[in-house]
């Protein structure tokens, strides 16, 4: 087989004829750094959230699989991120209870624990209007973690709850003292007080040391920096219950839209990527606040025909679900779209369907239209802005 030689540094070249394949900066030629207490990203990877004044968005086009790295989880807060000493933090449950109680973070960690992978999404998650938008720009106010904490129902066993209970108020200890009204049924269902995210303490932007987790419900209701829960027979009609997180539906204003409607987005290919003709695995995420993703369909002809995409197992309830669809692109201009159907049979609507159902003035909350990417003949990918009216 001729002379088989080690890949070599030019400096230590020793076997004739191998210099031609000499590798510069060969990592096999000198030992690397030793083990460390806490790892760091490669300097070649710089994913960022792109912060605005009031939020920051997950770079969906740069993430893989279903877990969002904790330091890239989207943020939305109304008065900044408080600094909280977990040893001093306490949570109060009172109102229509038998015994009002206070819990330290350490108390909460002692109760039977539950872990669950699910998404949290801002109810205002959707931006359009121009072509040079990335998935992060369009839909970056959604992220997913493995959350660990105690079921709220476990705590309510301790306090007891009056039969008149219909709602509960959850309140944060940020400078917005953020409050939302939540139906008590959610407490008996799957509401949790979580202290951990992706294997570690939840991050400050996610509510450290504890937040409310309401799987599938709009992000704002998952009160961060939680300090109080009051059980009630009436809703509180807080500012975020009423003047925010509500939207015109024809001649009315719809409130208390808790569940995030099913939606999906293609994250690859997307702006600002450029693709070549030939085989392309179209990839994206789909989810529903009402349960599992039943199926995702992809169209590569601008919505004329639709085909089933593959779903990455395990498909979990109220969780970002990865979908993938193989496409052999012939190089002609086209548009690619995805639409999800959830386990209730709900099919992600077009913007036109939404406008017909809600009227043209429908506002920015709970907008989950099918979105399209334009594929140009040179392989450039652009968002397709849609206009109603």
């Amino acid at each position: 087989a001729g002379a088989v030689a080690l890949p070599i540094n030019k400096a230590v070249a020793h076997n004739a004829g191998t210099e031609s394949v000499g590798i510069t900066d060969d990592p096999t030629k000198s030992p690397g750094a030793g083990p460390s207490a806490v790892g760091k990203r490669s300097a070649f990877e710089q994913p960022v959230r792109k912060p605005s004044d009031i939020s920051s968005r997950t770079p969906l086009q740069d993430t893989y699989g279903t877990i969002t790295p904790s330091d890239l989880h989207y943020e939305r807060h109304h008065a900044g991120v408080p600094v909280i000493d977990p040893a001093k933090h306490q949570m109060l449950i009172h109102g229509l209870v038998n015994k009002p109680m206070k819990f330290t973070v350490s108390d909460l960690k002692k109760f039977p624990a539950v872990s669950r992978i699910c998404f949290i999404e801002c109810a205002g998650n959707f931006r359009g209007g121009k072509e040079d938008l990335t998935p992060q720009d369009v839909l970056g106010l959604t992220s997913q973690s493995e959350w660990t904490g105690v079921l709220l129902s476990t705590l309510l066993r301790e306090t007891g709850v009056d039969a008149k209970a219909k709602w509960f108020l959850a309140e944060g200890s940020d400078a917005a003292v953020m409050t939302r009204t939540i139906p008590i049924a959610k407490a008996w269902d799957d509401a949790m007080i979580v202290y951990a995210q992706n294997g570690e303490a939840i991050r400050p932007e996610q509510g450290y040391p504890i937040r409310l987790l309401l799987p599938g419900f709009e992000g704002n209701m998952n009160i961060k920096w939680l300090r109080r829960i009051e059980i009630s027979d009436e809703p509180y009609m807080t500012r975020e219950d009423t003047s925010k997180y509500t939207y015109p539906v024809k001649d009315k204003i719809r409130m208390f839209s808790f569940e995030m409607d099913a939606r999906s987005i293609i994250t690859y290919p997307s702006y600002p990527q450029q693709v070549n003709s030939g085989w392309i695995e179209i990839r994206g995420i789909a989810w529903s606040g009402r349960g599992k993703v039943d199926k995702v369909e992809v169209s590569t002809d601008g919505g004329k025909t639709w085909e089933l995409a593959n779903l990455q197992e395990p498909v979990l309830s109220k969780a970002h679900t990865y979908f993938r669809y193989l496409w052999n692109w012939n190089g002609a201009a086209t548009e690619i779209l995805s639409r999800v159907t959830d386990e209730t049979g709900y099919i992600q609507p077009t913007l036109k369907q939404l406008a017909e159902a809600r009227g043209p003035d429908m506002g920015g909350y709970h907008m989950n239209p099918i979105t399209a990417w334009q594929i140009k003949p040179d392989g450039k990918v652009l968002f397709k802005p849609e206009i109603i009216k």
Partner: protein
């Protein structure tokens, strides 16, 4: 009657474990009335939670100019060329008018007291006295043409204020399924 309904939990706990759950784990402790009072700052539409005290639009106007106008504009309206940190607070009471303000979009007057007391002024939340909050509430309700100039706002009168937008609000009744609504 007390509800202890652990069985309705969607995250099913295996029977092996739930059967041995004690009536109480005895973690946490009873909260004292003082602790509850210190944090129980919410106000409901029926007036539950409103503190003693009172205010009026005239007093509120002075406080507004001093503590609020810098972010929300003189009189709660933004001049066309202004770009302020806070949103417009005063506008038309016509449901279709924009921007969405207290006058045309807020369904309950109690929310105003609750929100101002907990969150405003933005740079010094929780610094207002209850009387100041009553007066600012009165001022903003009056500026939005909802109450008269001289109405005294207190725990009894505030819940009775009917907001123009109230009639527009409907609860979402969607439950999933194929229909787009």
């Amino acid at each position: 009657a007390l509800i202890v309904d652990n069985n309705r939990s969607a995250i099913q706990l295996p029977q092996a474990d739930t059967t041995k759950w004690p009536a109480s784990f005895e973690f946490g402790r009873q909260a004292t009335p003082a602790e509850i009072a210190a944090w129980d700052i919410d106000v409901r539409p029926d007036g539950k939670g409103l503190p003693p005290g009172k205010g009026d639009a005239k007093t509120g106007s002075t406080i507004y100019t001093l503590k609020c106008a810098v972010c929300h504009g003189a009189g709660g309206r933004q001049a066309p060329d202004e770009k302020l940190l806070g949103a417009a607070l005063v506008g038309d009471t016509l449901a279709t008018s924009r921007p969405k303000t207290i006058g045309n979009y807020w369904p309950y007057a109690t929310t105003l007291f609750d929100y101002i007391r907990r969150a405003m002024p933005y740079n010094q939340p929780g610094s207002l006295t209850d009387n100041e909050v009553y007066s600012l509430t009165a001022y903003l309700l009056n500026a939005n043409k909802i109450i008269k100039n001289n109405t005294v706002i207190n725990a009894q009168t505030l819940p009775k204020v009917v907001m123009p937008a109230k009639k527009l609000f409907i609860m979402d009744n969607r439950e999933g399924g194929p229909e787009v609504k």
